[in-house]
Amino acid sequence: MQGCSPVHKQMQSETKDVREIQKFRPVFTVALYKATVDVMDNHLSGLLLIKKMPDSSTRMVFSNEMGLSFFDFEFTANGNFKVYSIIKKMNKRSVIKTLQHDFELVLMNKLDNAAASVRSNDRLLYFIFPQDKGYNYYITDAGATELIRMERASHKKVIVEGIMKKYSNGIPDTIGISHKTFEFNIGLKRIERNAAE
């Protein structure tokens, strides 16, 4: 049991269908978020546009409020990732990898049901998906009606915690990503765009 979930101990096996977690997979047709990023005592804010493209890939463009783009990422439906553009200050392998894995946790686009398992502990269900390095956890209430939190973990510890709340037509209103090993937090709050257009 520990081999499947080393960071969460004393969990029970569950017969729940692992595919049930797919109902929390966000359906980003197109959504605009106000984004705040706190990293190592620095605060920056901007806008994150997420759009599902005709080829089923998902594009994410982060810009500041005045329109200057910070990055433009593509996540394909089969789990590939591409950087279209990124400003020089952020163009570091470690930064890109961190953002890629953080957003993959949110997009739920790299979940292999065949390798996954469901376990329980303290009235919570843990949907466990092995990744290239470590695991992605999606933790729900006992009935799998509410996504309590998401986690990205190594074999030893939880690295990232995330939330997705208040879904409307498949799109979460609030998304949060919080790193546990260093100060790096991303907060996304959906913006209703019709007000200005």
């Binding site: 605009l32 553009s85 765009r193 257009e197």
Partner: protein, 211 residues
């Protein structure tokens, strides 16, 4: 023969400019334009305006539109307040920048960040009419009957990595800025259009205070 070639070259350059900016041709007398621009903008001590900002994401076929209020006051003070569809406040006061994003406040000294200083200078220059002498850019000026288009092409490394060019449309009636377009290397662009402009409006200094 040489005269024929020269004529063809001049025409070709003229057509190229028109093709680049339809409806505009290179300004006939740049020195005269600079003088007029300088004289009138020197008389402008403040500008109060509304603005609409449109970011065009070419490959995503998407636009992000935001709106707000704008204030400029000599010397080197700008306040931009975004109201829709999000709240965001930015105050530029000489070499200081204040940003309020929701409940979070952030103060930055542009002295410690050269790129921030250069971007800050663009906005101030556009309003103060000193953009034609900004050495961070190569400048070309085009015009039609009502407007002048000032094309600022970055020459410094940091700005070149962010912008292909910044195009400022100036209303020839009063030499006020109608719009600022920032063209990014990716092909995306952001246009800030100023409306309901009030030159030399009475603007209190308190709007620009950074504590």
């Amino acid at each position: 023969m040489n005269r024929v070639i020269l004529t063809i070259l001049i025409l070709a350059v003229g057509f190229a400019a028109q093709a680049q900016y339809p409806g505009y041709s290179p300004v006939a007398d740049l020195a005269k334009f600079k003088t007029e621009f300088s004289v009138i903008t020197q008389k402008t001590t403040s500008v109060k305006s509304d603005f609409t900002q449109e970011k065009n994401l070419a490959m995503l076929s998407e636009k992000i539109i935001s709106k707000g209020n704008f204030w400029f006051k000599k010397d080197s003070r700008v306040r931009m307040e975004y109201n829709q569809p999000f709240k965001y406040l930015m105050i530029l006061n000489k070499d200081k920048v204040y940003v309020k994003d929701g409940q979070k406040e952030n103060k930055v000294s542009t002295r410690s960040n050269k790129l921030f200083q250069q971007i800050n200078k663009i906005m101030i220059d556009c309003m103060q009419g000193t953009m034609l002498s900004n050495t961070d850019f190569n400048t070309r000026v085009f015009e039609n009957r009502n407007s002048a288009l000032v094309e600022l092409s970055p020459v410094t490394k940091g700005l070149k990595e962010l912008f292909r060019s910044i195009n400022v449309i100036v209303d020839k009636k009063d030499f006020s800025v109608s719009s600022i377009e920032m063209k990014e290397l990716s092909g995306d662009n952001t246009i800030i259009r100023f409306t309901n402009k009030e030159p030399n409006a009475n603007i209190p200094d308190t709007l620009f205070i950074i504590n």
